[in-house]
Point group: C2
Chain length 82, copies 2
DNA sequence: AGGCCTTGTCGAAATATTCCGACATGGGTA
DNA sequence: TACCCATGTCGGAATATTTCGACAAGGCCT
């Protein structure tokens, strides 16, 4: 069977707002940034980032995830390990 | 070097609302569903699905994508080929 | 041409999200 | 203990999104 080099470390499978939150927190901590620093960098309010990381369910996200799940699509987050 | 079996066909890299729209459309068509059918299945309005597929930029999506990009995270959509 | 189906688009009402500012909590450390 | 820092949480105001219903355009078929 054809093969390729193994993929990136720390891949995250996204199923829900909760799993997205876990991933964002992981990558933020890996980058050694506080919520305040990251929020400032990307232009959002710190309290919102806090809620994001805690997996706050929002309608828009839920709708998109539901649609992709229905279609059998897998969502993966990872860092390229180049 | 260690290897693994090749991944799924049709992977999509998501950078923006536009690329997400393209992917959703692809998977919907692959499933041979109309926008009306898919919208009904997942409980959203057909006109919204139309806009989603056209890559309508929404703040929430833009904020999340911007945050992940800043952290160097790659987003991949694909179908498991089991 | 005429009918049918699918998708794109519009405006405004109904909902939902995000920001803001503030305060609470817990961990660490002097 | 007291102080700092990071994060969680709250309520209301400011924004943004989604739905709804309708109509238009294009493709396809008879």
């Amino acid at each position: 069977m054809k093969t390729v080099p193994t993929g990136s470390p720390h891949p995250y499978r996204i199923y829900s707002a909760a799993s997205l939150g876990v991933a964002i927190r992981h990558y933020r901590e890996e980058a050694q940034l506080t919520q305040a620093q990251l929020a400032e960098e990307v232009g959002l309010h710190r309290s919102y980032l806090s809620e994001l990381e805690q997996g706050k369910e929002t309608e828009q996200l839920a709708r998109i995830l539901r649609t992709l799940r229905f279609l059998g699509v897998r969502i993966t987050l990872d860092k390229a390990d180049w």
